[in-house]
């Protein structure tokens, strides 16, 4: 199809969808409205279960099943990336050249690395209290590890990143989440029911029943998934080369 025709189609389709969306926007309740029935029920339910952060309560208790789907997406994407970025038949690995990094940058990376790791853990641990949680903290922790690549060089990163271990962690974290769900079922309530543990004191680290456990499982899953994803891309960008003449 020619460029012109595509632009015409795009104009027609875009105009139609735009008209539809604008008409819908005009019918939407005004921005900042007060009516949120589900939201209010969720806040009440979260407080009843001593979870200070309602979003954590939603993600790991009330709508925990969605989160199971979400970490399965991560799990599947990692699996898919490993499959898609594997070494093809006509490729080989080349040893990357060591990098020369200016001293201040290297120092900064080495200082920021533990700080970022700790921050990641802090964000995960306080997930059910303050903003944050397994997902946010997991990404921070995993990104922090890659400061080694940015600030030092690839081989330093490879040394602290045993991929086999992360592979297992990835699978274990998903299983842990699902098994915690099954535990609810076996205890006679329902899948992913938060009735196994006491709800604890409001606004402390151990409050919320199984919320902190699920939160930790998600943190572990996200951290290992991000490390594995980036490992796939780093392999491609740094190591894997095509055979000459192919």
């Amino acid at each position: 199809m020619s460029q012109r025709l595509r632009l015409w189609l795009l104009a027609v389709g875009g105009a139609g969808v735009a008209a539809l969306l604008v008409a819908a926007c005009l019918d939407l309740p005004a921005f900042g409205g007060r009516r949120h029935p589900y939201g209010e029920r969720a806040v009440a339910a979260s407080l009843a279960r001593h979870t200070a952060n309602t979003i954590a309560s939603l993600n790991f208790d009330q709508r925990a099943y969605d989160t199971l789907g979400e970490i399965s997406i991560l799990f599947a994407a990692v699996l898919g990336c490993l499959v898609l970025l594997r070494e093809a038949r006509d490729e080989h690995r080349a040893q990357p050249q060591p990098a020369e990094v200016a001293l201040p940058v290297r120092r900064y990376a080495l200082i920021a690395l533990p700080v970022a790791l700790l921050t990641g853990l802090y964000v995960i641990a306080h997930g059910q209290l303050s903003p944050g949680g397994g997902f946010q903290g997991g990404v921070v922790a995993a990104t922090a590890l890659h400061l080694l690549y940015l600030g030092a060089d690839y081989r330093a990163l490879e040394r602290v990143r045993p991929l086999g271990v992360f592979d297992v962690c990835d699978a274990l974290a998903v299983s842990a989440y699902a098994v915690l769900g099954l535990a609810g079922l076996l205890a006679g309530t329902a899948f992913l029911a938060n009735t196994l543990l006491p709800y604890g004191t409001f606004n402390t680290l151990s409050s919320g029943g199984t919320v902190p456990l699920l939160n930790a499982a998600v943190g572990m899953e996200v951290a290992s998934a991000v490390v594995l994803l980036l490992a796939g891309f780093l392999d491609q960008a740094v190591e894997i080369e095509e055979e000459r003449g192919s």
Partner: protein, 588 residues
């Protein structure tokens, strides 16, 4: 019993996690056997739940049962159609895994478990989508299903076509999913709820006497865009041939056999629970929209199917044509139409998967799926030739296959000129399949000439490590069993009645219908079979007469393989859908 519903997703997921955790050490045979075992266990669970699904099972995940009619949790609905789809996809995954058992080529080094693990997650995602009673939960599983499908489609990274098809698939489907999510956002803004039944009630309350407004229309269009992209309705269908033609054969069996149909199922479910009330989209408008798109889909799918030489692509277009027929049948909104489509879908899944399985055998034996390059070369593969021919006849609706029964009931439900669409679309796609049988397995007729604008199926890499000299028994048995299952759907006494009862209970408030073979239906089935055989005979003996006429060329040029075009078409499709539904909103 209802507490077990989430297990249909959790069990395959745990199996996949197990395979990944141990994948580095596991020998291949063990990994694939584990995959089959877990998939089989899930299928058994789905069947057990299906047998207990009257009255429908309802599960509030996490034990968040409603208090005063209000809940904060996620609801799963295990009625007949939902568990039926779950059982169908589980059984099909099992057969795909058995089909690829020990034959499928080169697992990535140290990741022997990754292919069966992906298949298991795919199975779980499809089950999860089928059971979802919460709109956002449906979106999550929709995305999970898509993500796994992209990875599986691009599995053969050495194939240029495979990676291109997978990317097109990925971009178009993700965009459709985002459109769906925007629609969910609009619905949430209006009703403040996420469970489908509650949204439906919320829309009715909000509309009062007024009927639907622009917001409902936009939400309907956006949600349906996402589902119709999955169901590959024209003009959202372009990704399908590109993806299905290049995916590994066992994956094709799943994509064509059940994933696309899940899109149609989603349309049925979402319309029925969310938009069917007085505050939703009026029935006349839905019928107009779905029947128009469905007829277009059937027509374009059938025409494009006829002109393919790449056998997998041909089968993919036949899937497009058949989903068009499904949409028409669902669009007329009669209980009989729903029953017919449910049976048609069951039969079609078996037949289409069997046809793909046979094509896979050709690919592994000859390294090609091109009708012209394979001309007469498969004479020795008699069993596959017979199965391919039977598959073609079943696709046309030869009684007493399940496809024929479903088609006959639907034809009666739609009535009038739409019957003709069913007869013609099934005859043309079946004719193309029979033509392939005659040329490839029997070597009849002269070799046709190359056309200008087409995808050839030669130079494909077999999916096995090397070309097979002998096809393993598991690869022969699977299509045979699938065809037998499609046959059984048509003849098993009482099955049709059970399916109809559970579909009506879920969809049309328990309306009573009687579904059985009628002379009229048998006659129409025979007519389209004869038509298909005639078309195939004509194509083989007088290829000139049916070679691409000029008028089909513009149609073929639309299938350009360009992601940008497909995105533009998606927007056009949403606009068309909006325009077709608009009258009811204006009138209201």
């Amino acid at each position: 019993m209802h507490h077990l519903l989430p297990l249909l997703f959790a069990v395959p997921l745990l199996g996949a996690a197990l395979l990944v955790a141990t994948g580095r050490r596991l020998p291949r045979a063990v990994a694939e056997t584990t995959g089959c075992a877990v998939s089989g266990a899930t299928a058994a669970l789905a069947l057990v739940l299906l047998l207990n699904s009257a009255p429908p099972l309802v599960e509030w995940v996490g034990g968040w049962r409603p208090v005063d009619g209000e809940s904060v949790g996620i609801v799963l609905v295990g009625d007949g159609p939902a568990l039926g789809m779950a059982a169908l996809d589980s059984l099909l995954t099992l057969s795909a895994l058995v089909y690829s058992w020990r034959y499928f080529d080169e697992p990535p080094r140290g990741h022997a478990g990754s292919y069966p693990a992906l298949m298991l997650v795919f199975q779980g995602a499809m089950c999860g989508f089928a059971l979802a009673g919460d709109l956002f939960n449906a979106f999550v599983f929709f995305e999970l299903m898509s993500v796994v499908a992209y990875a599986l489609t691009g599995y053969r990274i050495d194939e240029p076509k495979a990676v291109q098809g997978a990317l097109t698939f990925g971009v178009v489907n993700s965009l459709g999913a985002y459109a769906m999510l925007m629609g969910i956002g609009l619905l949430y803004a209006r009703t403040g709820e996420l469970a489908m039944t509650k949204i439906g009630r919320g829309l009715d309350d909000a509309a009062g006497q007024g009927g639907p407004d622009a917001l409902v229309l936009a939400a309907f269009v956006l949600v349906m865009t996402g589902l119709l992209v999955k169901a590959a309705a024209v003009p959202f269908h372009f990704w399908l041939p590109d993806a299905h033609a290049v995916a590994p054969t066992p994956v094709c069996m799943l994509l064509s056999g059940v994933m696309v149909e899940l899109g149609a199922y989603g349309v049925w479910r979402v319309y029925g629970t969310v938009f069917a009330g007085p505050g939703g989209i009026p029935a006349a408008d839905l019928t107009r929209a779905l029947v128009t798109l469905g007829v277009l889909t059937a027509a374009i799918g059938a025409v494009m199917c006829w002109y393919q030489r790449h056998i997998k692509r041909l089968l993919a277009y036949s899937t497009v044509a058949h989903t068009g027929l499904f949409l028409v049948g669902l669009g007329v909104l009669t209980p009989e139409g729903d029953d017919g489509i449910a049976l048609y879908l069951l039969g079609h899944a078996g037949v289409k998967a069997a046809l793909f399985a046979c094509t896979g055998a050709l690919l592994d034996r000859f390294g090609s799926v091109d009708e012209q390059a394979l001309h007469g070369r498969a004479r020795g593969m008699r069993a596959f030739g017979v199965m391919f021919a039977i598959g073609g006849l079943a696709l046309a609706g030869l009684p007493p296959f399940g496809t024929a029964l479903g088609k006959a009931i639907t034809e009666e439900a739609v009535g009038g000129p739409l019957t003709l669409v069913y007869v013609l679309a099934s005859a043309v796609t079946a004719g193309a399949v029979l033509r392939v049988t005659a040329r490839v397995f029997l070597g009849l007729g002269p070799r046709p000439e190359d056309a200008a604008y087409e995808t050839s199926g030669s130079d494909e890499r077999p999916e096995t490590g090397r070309r097979l000299s002998r096809i393993p028994d598991s690869m022969t048995a699977v299509p045979a069993v699938l065809l037998a299952a499609a046959f059984a759907v048509g003849v098993a006494p009482g099955l049709a009645a059970v399916v109809a009862r559970s579909v009506n209970e879920a969809g049309s408030g328990g309306a009573h219908t009687s579904v059985h073979w009628t002379p009229h239906g048998i006659l129409l089935g025979l007519v389209s079979t004869l038509l298909a055989v005639g078309l195939a005979a004509l194509a083989v003996t007088r290829p000139r007469r049916l070679a691409t006429p000029d008028w089909a060329l513009p149609l073929r040029r639309l299938q350009s393989g360009h992601v940008g075009d497909y995105v533009a078409w998606l927007l056009v499709g949403a606009t068309v859908l909006g325009a077709l539904t608009l009258p009811g909103v204006l009138g209201g």
